[in-house]
Amino acid sequence: MKTFTYRTATDVAHGLEPGATFLAGGTNLVDLMKLGVATPDVLVDVTRLGLDEVADLPGGGLRIGAGVRNSDLAADSRVRRDWPVLSQALLAGASGQLRNMATTAGNLLQRTRCRYFMDATMPCNKHEPGSGCPAREGDHRNLAILGASEACVATHPSDMAVALAALDAVVQISGPAGERTVPVTELHRLPGDTPERDTVLEHGELITAVDLPPLGFAARSAYRKVRDRASYAFAVGSVAAAIQVDAGAVTDVRLAFGAVAHKPWRAYTAEEALRGRPATRESFLDAADAELTAARPLRDNAFKVALTRNLVVSVLEGLS
């Protein structure tokens, strides 16, 4: 591991000197530092800023502090009652030990698990811009089928982010230039020509909280994840969904897909296709297909199209 200096952050608005990085639970960053993929000169520990509360928002939402541990958020009685999809997504991720350290912001900003990215000795446009993308011809079984580019086909690995994208959560950001908000659906970028940038955050911008807006029908919501073993593995595909059905017809719906793109994939096209349609298997299939016509699978990951399609149907059937 490259050497660094360490300090604790004392204020949310200080920003960062060049070469400095925020440290939260460390479960991703320390791992990448050991691998030589992350090489910060300065680590600024944000876990003592007191951003660890889940507070009620006026009007019925929740403000989830950036430093709230994944295990505490998953166990929060308000989350479990009103947004079960979020609790389920958190519990589907990592392990009990990791969730006790992992934070809201760190989870959102965790990096791809693409094996070339995590190997400092390999070329990779994400850790070394311009060096190429060996995944395209190499191991891409668990990489993107939607929104990828010639330069990068990585997926975002978070489960939690998929639920937050479906729920229209909003990220609160504080930086040297002031405060701003970004919807979770717009936090992560598509790779395009600059896959080295995962998100729209500028250097030194700190996530302080994630706001969860009220969504009455999210009380009927669920997260379903498929992985290569029963537990303690990243998703090969996942779906977060909430649905409202009245007299057999879909009146409203939220859908997002995980492990298919460089960002949690909000399935707006599928949602649009479903509103007003009968809540039947046929409608769910049509909606999934409407979204997945944009899929451009690689040699070894075409199975993800069928997998995601089946997940959409099973989750929506389970909820309606």
């Binding site: 479960t27 998953a74 166990a75 519990l91 009990g96 990791l98 006790n100 350290m101 537990s231």
Partner: protein
């Protein structure tokens, strides 16, 4: 820096790169926590940090000023007797991590924390899911499950 380990305040001088696991094993003479993968993937390094189970291999010791760490050397819990009674191990390499994890897990259950399987009784499926962060190369899982189930009932 100062760390409270198994109830005793210890002063250590560490390179900032030192993980909690290496601090325990290489600087404090506590070799109970094991290094399996060093990347958060196996659970052999599990300890209790302020009472919660964590992987000590992914935590920089320097971040823990004044925190309280309990390692297997400081654990005194019915899970240990039950592991002996049921032969919940073969080579024993994963065992300190399994036991620390089980102690933390049982506390989570008593606080009503849910798991991906459910939130009510501690069925065998629940134990498997909640203990999935601890791998055992010897595959001694079948005997760990009754050990943990019976420890929970006490």
């Amino acid at each position: 820096m100062d760390l409270v380990v198994n109830g005793t305040r210890r002063s250590v001088e560490l390179d900032p790169r030192t993980t909690l696991l290496d601090a325990l094993r290489e600087h404090l003479g506590l070799t109970g926590a094991k290094k399996g993968c060093d990347h958060g993937q196996c659970g052999a390094c599990t300890v209790l940090l302020d009472g919660r189970r964590v992987n000590s291999c992914l935590i920089l010791a320097i971040t823990l000023q004044d925190s309280s760490v309990t390692t297997i050397e400081g654990v005194d819990h019915p899970v240990q007797d039950k592991f002996l009674e049921h032969d919940g191990f073969q080579c024993g390499y994963c065992t300190p991590g399994q036991i620390c994890s089980a102690v933390g897990m049982l506390d989570e259950v008593s606080k009503g924390w849910p798991s991906a399987v459910g939130d009510a009784e501690l069925t065998d499926a629940e134990i498997r899911e909640r203990m999935s962060g601890n791998l055992c190369r010897c595959g001694a899982y079948p005997n760990m499950i009754p050990a943990i189930r019976e420890a929970a009932a006490r």
